[in-house]
């Protein structure tokens, strides 16, 4: 079963990370899910694949009533992002899924109906969670061609999807990045191979540098906190991406 860690809290405004399942089979990539709660509502960010649904569900329901989830934010279309969608909808069929317009007719293959999906335009948009305004920030081609991060200005938290992701070796599973130089080695290959455009990467770095961010929360690996956030942005800005050997 996964564990939950509250990584931000101010009254009923919370960010909860759902992480690290020791029973997960090795053939499935490890993923982090995040729950934002505000008022009585919740928004689940990249809820994960169907195979890990039981582990995510049980961890989440220890913190929050799953039928009170107002929506799901899908950073992009991959199966490890939201192939569990149909299962979450069993708990609240009125739940909405916020996703790039580009994937609006692809993700319904995982479940849902025409009413389920809220299309995010390329330039991004605001998403309200019981009055809390969250911002869908464009991160196109990083790695998906229709890709968004989610920024919470109040909490100064940024869900960065695959940006900042690291494939950590067994035993190195701390929630936060502790030694940046050591950690970033596990992120380098991933970013070089998965991120498709230096131009898109440049724009993302410029855009995100202007935001006030305390934590950068990727979908795989550890969370960047404090000075490590800017350190990551600088490192990413310098990295040449879209490279495959052979």
């Amino acid at each position: 079963m996964k564990t939950t860690k509250t990584i931000f809290q101010d009254g009923n405004h919370k960010w909860v990370a759902i992480v690290r399942d020791p029973e997960k089979p090795n053939y499935l990539i490890d993923t982090n899910e995040y729950l934002i709660t505000h008022g009585g509502q919740g928004l689940l960010l990249d809820p994960g694949g169907a195979e890990i649904f039981p582990a995510v569900f049980s961890a989440l329901s220890s913190e929050f009533d799953p039928s009170a989830l107002a929506g799901i934010f899908a950073s992009h279309q991959d199966p490890d992002i939201c192939s569990s969608l149909a299962l979450w909808l069993e708990f609240n069929p009125k739940m909405r899924c916020h996703v790039s317009w580009l994937w609006g007719s692809f993700i319904p293959h995982f479940g849902g109906s025409a009413e389920t999906f809220v299309m995010i335009p390329d330039e991004g948009c605001d998403i309200s969670l019981d009055g809390l305004i969250l911002r869908a920030v464009p991160a196109h081609y990083l790695h998906s061609s229709g890709n968004f991060n989610l920024y919470d200005k109040v909490a100064k938290m940024m869900f960065s999807g695959d940006v900042g992701a690291a494939l950590l070796p067994p035993g190195e599973d701390s929630l936060y990045v502790e030694d940046f130089d050591k950690h970033i080695r596990h992120a380098e290959g991933f970013h070089r191979r998965w991120m498709g455009s230096n131009e898109a990467k440049r724009r993302w770095c410029e855009r995100v540098s202007q935001l006030d961010i305390d934590m950068l929360c990727p979908q795989h690996g550890a969370i960047y906190q404090g000075a490590n956030v800017q350190r990551f942005i600088n490192w990413f800005d310098e990295l040449q991406v879209g490279i495959v050997s052979g």
């Binding site: 169907a50 039981p54 220890s62 009533d65 799953p66 039928s67 299962l87 069993e90």
Partner: protein, 207 residues
């Protein structure tokens, strides 16, 4: 694990096997449709041959026309069977999806017995039962339609054998008429064998 769920999870391989059996039935139906089309063309040629043979082959001509009608009826019948097959594929796919989702919801309910997963699982099982019942109903309809097709082919067999007898009265055309009627008979037997194997399909017998 509940008894109902144990039954459903153990039926997962059964649903997969059912899908495979449906695919085989569909392939057999496609081959029957192809053969039925061949009868149509053969019957048309037989009608021309009977016309050339004149009054001696009038009976043969009538039977050839009936065989042509038979081939069209058989194709319509196979079309209806194909529609039912598509319905079965749809329901088996839903049952397979139900099984996967039910299994995952069950795991969630075991990990969080106090959560709403237990109630959602119960609701999911009611839907699963509906899909299973619809599949059972389609299975019965398909079996009935197959029996109807078999009866139709019995009639086709009688027509082909009667054509063989009529060919003997074809005087100077007796040999070519006998050859054509023999081919009719062989093809109808081929269809009968196909339908016989479909009747024995484990999809209906449940073995």
């Amino acid at each position: 694990m509940t008894t109902a769920l144990t039954t459903r999870l153990s039926s997962a391989p059964q649903a997969g096997v059912d899908l495979l059996r449906i695919v085989r039935i569909n392939e057999e139906i496609k081959s029957v449709v192809g053969v039925a089309f061949k009868i149509n063309i053969m019957a048309l040629n037989a009608i021309f041959l009977a016309k050339r043979a004149g009054t001696a082959a009038r009976g043969f001509g009538v039977l050839s026309n009936e065989l042509r009608v038979f081939s069209q009826d058989l194709r319509d019948c196979m079309g209806a069977l194909t529609g039912l097959i598509h319905g079965c594929v749809n329901e088996v796919s839903l049952v397979l999806q139900d099984l996967r989702h039910t299994g995952l919801l069950h795991q969630a309910a075991v990990l969080s017995p106090q959560s709403k997963a237990v109630g959602v699982l119960a609701a999911r099982e009611i839907q699963n039962e509906q899909h299973t019942r619809r599949l059972a109903s389609l299975r019965k309809q398909l079996k009935r339609a197959l029996e109807d097709a078999f009866q139709m082919v019995e009639l086709g067999g009688v027509l082909a054998k009667s054509a063989k007898i009529e060919a003997a009265y074809g005087q100077s055309f007796a040999v070519p008429l006998a050859q054509v009627s023999g081919e009719f008979d062989n093809i109808v037997e081929e269809i009968r064998a196909s339908l016989e194997s479909l009747r024995r399909s484990a999809f209906f017998t449940g073995n």
